[in-house]
Symmetry: C2
Subunit: 310 residues, 2 copies
């Protein structure tokens, strides 16, 4: 089994409103609601790839009940901790005429110290039955910056492989506990090693530095330009086919899902990167975040090139 | 007891977002959520005035559970029918810097014929224990335009006094069953009688026509200019003091609450109009729709003039 952790689970809701602007009244007749948050997206893609997955994290209130219900309706095992407050609503208003995209993100619940202790116990229990534990996304209010570092150590102590996909201070603090795999973006990876430039030489230098610091796998997605990756001391370049992007939101989460599933299956670094890139690209073909079609993944796998260059 | 009916109950949520516009990402850290829908606003003000009230209508899904829960936390009796789907979210995005107000209204659930039959039975039961039944707001999808007319007849058959505060086709169809009191706005009242002009003479003519047609009480709010009303064949003008309006949303619902409570207490037409106008004005002093402070109502009552002019 693979466990995915979403500390600030959400209801992702999309409104399609032609001509949307401010200071007027709009009727949202066409709406789409899904369980959201990066770790939930990862779980959805792992499930689509046919592997057993459990999604955990914090949910709150009636929105939290709705999130768990939506996951179960998708056939995804949900084992969340319920806390007081309300899980956040993340609203995406798409104007299909003007082409704009307006996002409104709520903050979500404030997590108490007691709930954090309960989460540590939950991760310990799930990790003991998991090959991998994937920690994704931002932390809700009330969590210390080093929470991911603590949870990573707990997962590792139970024999599970920890993976971290977050950003900012949570990433900086989280890498202290040496997760097995991280997926910073090109802007963040150089910041992690004190650099600032965004060119590929700098990215490669940062990847090498992070591997030397004890993080075995560093995958940096470059969007349409593919990815640069370090794995067990070697460097890889990933090139992906050109596709007609429908919605690239969730492509990073889908890539993580592909990487983890391949690792769970004992694949080589090249195969892992291929499945990761295929899932990330397949997600961009779908209108909803964190969804892939298996047939898309399979056909994309044939067109992805992975080159080892050191 | 007074019963209020909200066929399309809602979660009213307000975000305060400085500089809100389209095509960007915003964090809604400051949010306010209340049970909403016009009949629920009426119930809240009746409760604030100290009278026993039961709020009914349709709720759906997790949003519906949240609505009932919020009402109970306010101490308001809630006796809703739960249907499939999700109750609508009505989002109000206030930009405290730019001064704009952007509203996003979902459609809410689609009501089945079986649920409509169950609602008829529910109204019959509640009306048998109520002095008044107040029908407020728009109808959800699946309801026939003449549903209010049917429900009004059911309420009357149980000895309760029916009140209707809606608009458009639902109002046109609803007045066929002669509710005891209606509160159309100045634009709508002339439409009801086939007129079109909005001047006060036309409004008076429309009120007289509606009274002749068998609707005992016709109250037309003119906003800051007060109200014109017909009651038992007589015409009244209501003048209100000038106040610093904070949020006028829900003032009409608050006025209905005041009118109904005064009628429930056996007050004269003048006293009814005074309490209605005081509640409507008191609501405009509050940041949240359908809320009044009793002390505001009491002090406003002294400054409201009701004149009988025919």
């Amino acid at each position: 089994m693979i466990t995915t952790v979403t500390l600030n689970a959400a209801i992702d809701k999309t409104y399609y409103i032609p001509g949307f602007g401010s200071n007027a009244l709009y009727r949202a007749d066409e709406t789409l609601a899904t369980a959201g948050g990066k770790g939930i997206n990862v779980a959805r893609v792992i499930h689509a790839l046919g592997e057993e997955v459990t999604a955990t994290g914090f949910v709150a209130g009636y929105n939290g009940m709705a999130i768990v219900d939506m996951l179960r309706q998708e056939g995804i095992q949900a084992d969340f901790l319920s806390v007081s407050g309300e899980s956040r609503l993340c609203l995406n208003i798409i104007d299909p005429v003007g082409g704009s995209q307006t996002e409104l993100l709520e903050a979500g619940p404030v997590i108490t110290p007691e709930a954090i202790e309960a989460m540590k116990a939950k991760i310990e229990e799930l990790a003991s039955r998991s090959s991998h534990v994937v920690f994704s996304g931002s932390m809700p209010k009330g969590c210390d910056t080093d929470l991911y570092a603590n949870l990573i150590q707990i997962a590792r102590s139970q024999g599970a492989i920890p993976i971290l996909d977050t950003s900012g201070d949570a990433l900086i603090a989280g890498i202290q506990s040496k997760p097995y795999l991280i997926k910073p973006n090109e802007h963040e990876v150089t910041k992690l090693t004190g650099g600032s430039a965004d060119n590929e030489d700098e990215i490669v230098r940062a990847i090498q530095q992070l591997m030397q610091d004890g993080i075995s796998n560093v995958i940096v997605s470059l969007g349409e330009r593919g990815a640069l990756a370090g794995s067990d001391g070697r460097l890889y370049g990933v090139s992906i086919p050109r596709v007609e992007t429908v919605n690239a939101v969730g492509s990073g989460d889908s890539m993580v899902a592909g990487l983890v599933v391949a690792d769970h299956r004992g694949c080589s670094p090249e195969e892992r990167l291929k499945l990761g890139a295929a899932c990330g690209t397949a997600n961009a073909l779908m209108p909803s975040a964190g969804m892939v079609k298996l047939s898309d993944v399979e056909s994309l796998l044939r067109d992805i090139q992975v080159t080892c260059f050191s």
